[in-house]
């Protein structure tokens, strides 16, 4: 049995107390002495030529301290793309500059072209109104197909709206074409993976400050990865030396990807703080968030699945257009390519996969990784087309999947899309799902729904994802411009309590509770004496941050490695104290002892000795007890799962209600099952939101019509059921020390196709010959589909 606070314990979260009592400290809660406020002037047109910006009246307004335009930043760098993608013809992707403030042109509604710094936020807002910008409106490039044939360009200097035309795996292209041409059966599906707005409940905010006497800058900001933000600002945008810039991400109210990236507002408040000599704070309002946070998804895909007469999968071929918006956000080029195409083999022994992705610039907000990032897009395409194939072939959708699953004796399994799956058991997950979801009881529930005049459907899904990113050597070959390791320092204080500085950043994931469980388990001491320090580049060694379900798999592994070093050193100190060799020492429940004797010292006594090294072998052991480890994984981790959803559809209104939602996931080993379950719940809600209600809507002029909570439907409590979640079928990851895989994104990856499969099943059961409805499956879309199918 696990210790109360060790690995496997459902320890309550220590961070909850401050959040429940209103004493958390989010960026906007921070008040720095003499702080001033920034407000941005943002484009109201999607595409326009900036002919002039007259700031003279604004500069004279009460309380105004400074006004900035794009002219002030022409000599600094652009915000870069973190991943180089080469097109099929070998040409590198197009990388137009993304400036701090728009210069020459504005490229989407909300694109900032000026900023005012004033004593109060109201004064800054008033002054923004006084800026006179002469912006000549240009035709807006919104539709991706139109963008590819247009002679109007989002970025004139690259003379195309295509960022890249990527093929994966290019060597498989001809063989895949041949397999599809010659197959017994080919199922084809055209689908849209709808654009989503991440909508972390805390809007983005940043405070820049500058100390003239030393030249040091500090940025408080809503970031998932403060070191990455520091690196981007230092090395690419403002050129501030890293040792002169501290980035602090305090309590952060959710991210879901949108707070991975560096945004221009962060650079602006730093530059402005230096100029006005006082701290500068900016906090987005919700509409600003809608207009400028990086959005997610937005793929249009045609997928084909080739099968033989027995239902064996022969090939998947996809043709995708991926919207990258007006500028390349930091990971926008990795998301539709390597985080998507490499998963297009799914959980299956399909021998051939070919993926083509054309990335397209449009006059819309940048699109980047959002919870799942590429894997939801892959899973949706695969699992929808399999469901359609099952229907066309008259096969049971569960059996068709089982028939093609990679089997437990096939690991390590080289997928046709280029990954090596290390562990899994998809049949066991499906078995468990059938049990937990009570699939055998479905027909009775269907009859009960029909008795109420409702159509009932069952949808299932099997997914695999790659997370815990990732081996630096591998991603470097694939175009990543960063390494993807993480780091941790374990500092044992003289009195025996422990501070662990981690590169991962917690913005809801409960690291302050879960990471100490790992150290507690290894040292055999109570977790209450261990605390986590994160989110401050001046306090922690380095870190690539939290995204891609990587915190525990990568940073947690660094914590393990650093703790192992602590144990090695502590054993040497204990051996000296007990006058034996360190090979004779064992550590159990926080006590170092010599086997077969009654000689022992406690962990606390060893810590004290390390810091008061009297009678200490200084010639062979340094004083102190602090160790750092950097961990770079050997492979991705591969969580997988089997999901089931039951919906009721009202034939009169087209309204879909999710009645049952079951998620059975293989996350490998689980450190805190309570937190893991909560992560799945949140992912399910976002996935159901994508499937049923969330719609980001740009009109033909590029106006974002869904830019507030009055217009963009967020899933609310009464849109969702209680969830059935199970993670008992874990197969440990074989290449990281904890055997963990990552659980943050699974729910959002596995649920959208499950829900849509269920809706199609319900409609079919009601006699409607409907094989697909695009997400979000709103009442009007269902109703129209029913009318059109008559």
């Amino acid at each position: 049995m696990p210790r109360d606070t060790g690995i496997g314990a459902a320890t309550l979260r220590r961070e909850d107390v401050r959040f429940l009592t209103g004493t958390g400290e989010y960026t906007d809660d921070i008040v720095l002495a003499k702080q001033t406020y920034a407000v941005f002037a943002r484009s109201t047109v999607a595409h326009g030529k900036i002919k002039s910006i007259d700031t003279s009246a604004a500069a004279q307004m009460p309380g105004v301290l400074a006004v900035f335009t794009g002219d002030d930043f022409v000599d600094v760098g652009g915000n870069p793309a973190g991943w180089l993608i080469n097109s099929r013809d070998g040409e590198p992707m197009k990388e137009p500059k993304r400036p701090v403030l728009a210069h020459g042109k504005v490229r989407h509604v909300g694109d900032a072209y000026a900023a005012v710094i004033a004593e109060t936020v109201e004064q800054a807002r008033d002054a923004v109104e006084a800026i006179e910008a002469d912006i000549e409106e240009l035709p807006a490039i919104i539709d991706m197909n139109a963008a590819l044939s247009s002679s109007t360009y989002v970025h004139d200097e690259i003379e195309t709206n295509q960022c890249f035309d990527w093929g994966w795996i290019e060597d498989n292209r001809e063989a895949t074409d041949t397999a599809i041409k010659n197959a017994h059966h080919v199922t084809t599906l055209e689908l849209v993976n709808n654009r989503l707005v991440p909508n972390a409940m805390e809007p983005r905010a940043s405070i820049g400050s500058y100390k003239a006497s030393t030249g040091e800058y500090t940025l408080h900001t809503t970031s998932q990865n403060p070191h990455l933000t520091r690196l981007l600002i230092s090395a690419f945008v403002l050129g501030i030396p890293e040792n002169m810039l501290t980035v602090i991400a305090p309590d952060v109210g959710g991210g879901f990807g949108s707070k991975i990236y560096h945004y221009g507002e962060e650079a602006l408040v730093l530059a402005a703080a230096k100029q006005v000599g006082r701290p500068v704070k900016w906090t987005a309002d919700r509409t600003e968030s809608f207009l400028t946070d990086a959005h997610g998804r937005d793929h249009v895909t045609k997928i084909e699945l080739a099968l033989d007469a027995e239902g064996n999968f022969l090939a998947f071929r996809t043709d995708t257009k991926a919207n990258v918006g007006a500028y390349l956000s930091n990971f926008s080029t990795a998301t539709p390519t390597f985080l998507h195409g490499t998963l297009m083999g799914g959980n299956y022994t399909v021998p051939l996969v070919y993926v083509n992705v054309k990335a397209v610039f449009t006059n819309t907000a940048p699109v980047d990784a959002y919870r799942g990032a590429g894997r939801p897009e892959a899973t949706y395409s695969i699992e929808r087309v399999i469901d359609k194939a099952a229907r066309e072939l008259g096969m049971d959708p569960i059996e068709l999947r089982r028939k093609n699953f990679v089997k437990p004796d096939q690991y390590p399994y080289a997928s046709a899309a280029g990954l090596e799956y290390d562990a899994g058991n998809y049949d066991a997950l499906m078995d468990k799902m059938e049990e937990v979801a009570d699939i055998s009881g479905f027909e009775a529930r269907r009859k009960a729904s029909e008795a109420k005049g409702l159509m009932r459907g069952l949808g299932v899904n099997a997914y695999i994802e790659a997370c815990g990113i990732a081996p630096s050597n591998l991603v470097g070959v694939l175009g990543s411009r960063v390494g993807l390791y993480d780091a941790a320092t374990v500092r044992v204080n003289a009195t025996g309590n422990i501070s662990v500085m981690v590169g991962a950043h917690s913005h809801g994931q409960g690291h302050e509770t879960a990471f100490p469980q790992v150290v507690s388990d290894m040292l055999g001491i109570d977790a209450s004496t261990i605390d986590i320090v994160h989110g401050d580049t001046s306090k922690i060694p380095f870190g690539m941050g939290t995204y891609g379900s990587r915190s525990l798999a990568v940073c947690g592994s660094a914590v393990v490695r650093a703790t192992e070093k602590i144990i090695v050193k502590a054993k040497k100190i204990a051996a000296h104290m007990l006058e034996v060799t360190d090979q004779d020492i064992s550590l159990n429940d926080g006590v170092f002892s010599v086997e077969g004797t009654n000689k022992s010292v406690t962990f606390g006594e060893v810590a004290l000795k390390a810091y008061i090294p009297h009678d200490y072998p200084l010639e062979s052991i340094e004083p102190g007890l602090e160790e750092t480890a950097f961990y770079d994984p050997a492979n991705f981790t591969y969580p997988s799962g089997a999901y089931a959803c039951e919906v009721e559809v009202d034939p009169e209104t087209g309204k879909v209600r999710v009645d049952r939602m079951c998620a059975v996931d293989d996350f490998g080993n689980v450190i805190n099952p309570m937190i893991v379950t909560g992560q799945v719940h949140g992912g399910l809600a976002q996935g159901i939101g994508q499937a049923l209600v969330e719609q980001t809507f740009y009109d033909e002029y590029g106006q974002l019509l869904s830019a507030s909570y009055m217009d963009y439907t967020m899933p609310r409590a009464d849109d969702l059921p209680m969830f059935q979640v199970d993670h008992s079928q874990g197969t440990p990851c074989v290449h990281n020390p904890l055997g963990v895989k990552g659980c943050g994104e699974a729910g959002a990856i596995g649920s959208p196709p499950t829900v849509v499969n269920a809706v199609v099943d319900a409609l079919q059961s009601g006699g409607h010959n409907i094989t697909h409805i695009d997400m979000p499956v709103t009442p009007v879309r269902v109703w129209e589909a029913m009318q059109n199918a008559k």
Partner: protein
């Protein structure tokens, strides 16, 4: 500027505000009570819910001057007298009813108002009452469970940890 006086968490406070100053801004900026959060501009998200004379109110939708003379309660005033978590707060921790914590103050204040009106709400009643509070992290499962548990109902039959 107008002078306003009110009771906040049982303590008399006053301040000079503009006509346009929202109650949420008065609490956060004048009073330093930053537990009340602002998550939207349209009174939709509910992160700013406080109690005004015992009723749940979105403090971003009320001017500070309108609360003149009122008794206002915020999340900072919810703990028991000894500083420990109250029944609702404790249930949120016990049932993992929060993740990033940003919507949490509004959820706690809405839950308190609900249980005052309806001491043993059904699951459907809790979900319907939370229509005005958006959470992006939890999928609501554990929030609903926590509120039902805080009402003294047995939630052991509700799925998962």
């Amino acid at each position: 500027m107008t002078k306003v006086t009110m009771t906040v968490n049982g303590k008399a406070v006053s301040g000079d505000v503009e006509g346009r100053t929202l109650l949420s801004a008065f609490l956060r900026e004048d009073q330093g009570l930053t537990g009340t959060h602002v998550g939207c501009d349209t009174s939709q998200c509910g992160a700013c819910v406080v109690h005004v004379n015992g009723k749940a109110v979105k403090s971003c939708t009320m001017f500070a001057s309108e609360a003149n003379g009122a008794a206002v309660d915020t999340v900072e005033g919810q703990t028991n007298a000894d500083g420990s978590l109250n029944v609702i707060q404790q249930a949120f921790q016990d049932h993992h009813g929060l993740q990033c914590g940003f919507c949490t103050p509004g959820m706690v204040m809405s839950a308190a108002a609900l249980l005052k009106e309806n001491p043993t709400p059904s699951e459907a009643e809790v979900r319907e009452y939370l229509e005005g509070n958006i959470c992006r992290c939890t999928g609501y499962h554990n929030i609903v469970k926590a509120i039902m548990a805080a009402s003294g109902q047995d939630v052991s039959a509700i799925a998962a940890e």
